[in-house]
Chain length 289, copies 2
């Protein structure tokens, strides 16, 4: 039942107890910061690293817009003229890391990497992570509101997804800042807007839906880590056929015949799609269906 319960978003019941599997701390970790002239090259580098059989602890990528915002905020000394910044963290036994380091560098060079920097010590490692972790906060300098998506794609499709998301932004005349958990194919494009501008909000909702449907069409999913909730009820219909959704609903009813647990979430029903959401963004989204 574990696989069923995880991801059910409270619709099957509440976990009151959990046993966790602990894994040992890795012996060592090594963090690389690499610059590329565009996201597509960085994305291909990520795909190549995975194709080599290397599984880094993290591979995170941010685009030029985000990079410059972070640099404006924190003056970390990042290269402002790069098109993409990729952070790769390797961990494991020291000797295995040394082998992987060489292979990761080769993947970066093969994809026209502009510059590579390996953190020399814990202090430098912390600064590299600061660049990544402060990204969303820094984007507040560019627009009063941001709609962060959470789509997932197969890692081999990263280059294609990046190009398509860029086109969607152009089509709807919206700036999109890109922050990716590239290592696991989880994309967080952030659509920047002002919610007082109703036309812009409508474009944000359309573009958001197009990006999520793109992820599904590339063989991915609607959510990597933030779930469906009420926000993506409509997109669930793009990702799953009616009989899939009917199966999910009957499993839900097996645990909760009166649909009392976290009502209206996760599975689209006539009732849940007719309800109005609490957030302004969502009201627009639901109003458009």
């Amino acid at each position: 039942m574990l696989g069923l319960f995880v991801g059910s978003e409270g619709t099957l019941g509440i976990a009151t107890q959990a046993y966790l599997r602990l894994t040992p701390r890795p012996q060592d970790a090594l963090t690389m910061l690499a610059y590329f002239c565009c996201l597509e090259d960085g994305g291909q580098c990520v795909s190549d690293i995975i194709a080599q059989g290397i599984i880094p602890a993290a591979m995170e990528m941010i685009d030029a817009m985000t990079l410059n915002c972070v640099e404006d905020c924190h003056k970390l000394g990042l290269k402002r003229d790069a098109g993409a910044l990729l952070v790769v963290e390797l961990d494991g036994p020291k000797s295995a890391i040394a082998l992987e380091k060489a292979a990761v560098e080769q993947c970066a060079f093969n994809n026209k990497c502009l510059d590579i920097h390996w953190a020399a010590d814990a202090q430098e490692r912390m600064l590299i992570w600061k660049a990544r972790k402060s990204a969303f906060g820094a984007l507040g300098r560019l627009a009063p509101h941001g709609y962060v998506l959470d789509g997932v794609i197969p890692r081999s499709k990263l280059r294609e997804a990046i190009a398509e998301i860029h086109s969607i932004g152009l089509k709807h005349d919206l700036p999109i800042a890109n922050v990716y958990h590239a290592g696991d194919g989880n994309l967080h494009p952030c659509l920047l807007y002002n919610r007082d501008n109703e036309a812009e909000v409508r474009r944000v909702l359309l573009a958001g839906r197009e990006i999520l449907e793109l992820c599904v069409n590339l063989g991915g999913t609607l959510s990597g880590e933030h779930g469906i909730g009420v926000e993506k009820l409509l997109e669930m219909k793009a990702a799953f056929c009616p009989s899939d959704l009917a199966s999910m609903l009957s499993v839900r009813e097996a645990f909760d015949p009166r649909l009392l647990f976290n009502p209206g979430k996760l599975i689209p029903t006539t009732k849940s799609c007719g309800e109005s959401g609490a957030r302004p963004l969502l009201r627009h989204q639901i109003g458009s269906c």
Copy 2:
């Protein structure tokens, strides 16, 4: 739904298509054969290796009875006076294997290992695996029938489980040959008997149930890889409370309201526990309830 479907034993439907995640072949592999004076020491060695954070590709253990049977069959040159034979296979990058090799040897020596041999080449590695893989076949020399169990325990409880299984064998006057996927806590004790001896068959069924309930009481499960089917319907009641079983049944009914898919398997119902099984062993088992 993946986690729900895997392990449902055909009761939720039939998979007609599957996408498989491939992992790259490891760069190298190294296989150790180690002898201990008793299973408990070998079991503690396995627990210690796991506690070190090492995850070997395989850790397999056989007892003295099985070891001597295999040697009778295949004349591999195994040490007949040992109480347990442990096979550990390490894989991954060459340099990481070298580190792990030293740690695994230390764990073996800490547990009064009698002798260690690392396979020098592919030929030797094949012979070590022959000793393990021919174990069940070789046991046919000792008795006309064998009832192989498939319980799982937390790996940290291996020493305790081995001692208890030995007691259960003594109590029911049954020889038990022990073949363990020790690395993942999956035990395959093989109860040796002759099915023409009805009293012996009854003792086999009782002992089998006691061993599976022992696994559950130690925090483990009824099956590691061979499933529940009709064989362990009664033991399901020891492993799960009535409301757990009721939840499983309602999930099953969500997919198959008339219980037509692989009927009578996996979840005990009045109907399924009253049916007679096809195998002689099972007829006895169900006759006893």
